[in-house]
Symmetry: C2
């Protein structure tokens, strides 16, 4: 568990603002994973990090500011990979495979991300919502659309609406992870088994790639 | 909008407890659809129905009681169809088609259902959670497992873990609907277009059935 008042540096002595922000983001992330929902209070996040709620506001401006920063932290790696993927001289089927593997990995690490994105898109006005759309949601939709259109043009995929497919792919990749806490006592506790989550990406790839094949 | 104080019967004159319960459930459902989330307060539900929060507690015992009743209302039809489907003398591929169409229809009508089920499974202890599991989640998992196992045995489907497939199928069917409010301004507002939702079930069937074919 991340705590601001732990670690080797004495409290208030030389710890940079950046690392305090990182610890707060990690506390929010840990709490959301543990509770199985992004609906956590600013007070609970502060308590987890061993600080007061006003200090969280000092670093992030508001709870919304912290949530936007968390989405940006959690999606940074996927977005960098998406740019790399786009430039790769490989065929559409291989691109889609890498793309889907990346989506599963992102949601398995940050199972609260779907709920958090929907919350921010729904509840925030203006800048925060626009930032989430422009920095993550729209690039993901467009990257996937490009891959599907290339694959249809190359005769590898059957003709399919890329926007409808977006919801099918992301839904198929994320539902297991966003339901893991709720389903803990279901299917004989199989979801707590690491092998279940480890094998899952291959099953998703198997169903979706076969499902799209021309 | 459903309101307890509207309609032909004068307030307090002969309106049965059943219809008052129905109006409250419909108010909760309307509100969750409008806001795009099952996270609504008891007060907001009461206000929507034109009554006080204590009256809601009188009918359902607690907010949790109302939420469980709402899940039971929303899933009753699917469960009846699931029983009928199990008894039908048709081949597994045809069964899976009917089954998936039913899942899409349920989540398109009640887009808050995934969030509501997860909330109740996560947050409620004992009876409520057990009731949701026994009355809806477990029968759905088992019905789907039976269809997949029949299909694999008949050589129609490739061998696949039915429990992993459960999350792929339900995730693929529901994500569009549970994200509709959040995605209102994304994809040029395409999600508000009725044609998009109307064509969606065929796209899901197309991808999943092709994906499973032996």
């Amino acid at each position: 568990m991340a705590k601001l008042d732990e670690g080797t540096a004495p409290a208030g002595a030389g710890r940079s603002e950046n690392s305090a922000r990182d610890v707060l983001l990690q506390s929010a992330s840990d709490l959301m994973i543990e509770l199985g929902t992004p609906e956590v209070s600013l007070h609970a996040i502060a308590r987890r990090a061993g600080v007061t709620a006003p200090l969280v506001k000092y670093y992030f401006g508001s709870k919304e500011g912290l949530l936007v920063a968390l989405v940006e932290r959690d999606t940074a790696r996927s977005l960098a990979q998406l740019d790399g993927l786009n430039a790769m001289p490989i065929e559409p089927l291989a691109k889609l495979k890498i793309h889907i593997t990346g989506i599963v990995r992102t949601y398995s690490r940050y199972p609260y991300l779907v709920g958090l994105l929907n919350h921010l898109l729904r509840e925030t006005q203006g800048e925060a919502s626009e930032r989430i759309k422009a920095s993550f949601v729209t690039p993901l939709i467009e990257a996937q659309r490009r891959i599907i259109e290339e694959g249809v043009a190359a005769g590898q995929f059957r003709a399919i609406d890329p926007d409808q497919l977006y919801f099918i792919v992301v839904g198929a990749c994320q539902y297991l992870f966003s339901s893991r806490v709720a389903f803990a006592q279901i299917m004989d506790g199989k979801l707590a088994d690491d092998a279940f989550a480890r094998d899952f990406p291959n099953t998703v790839l198997d169903v979706i790639l076969n499902g799209l094949r021309a």
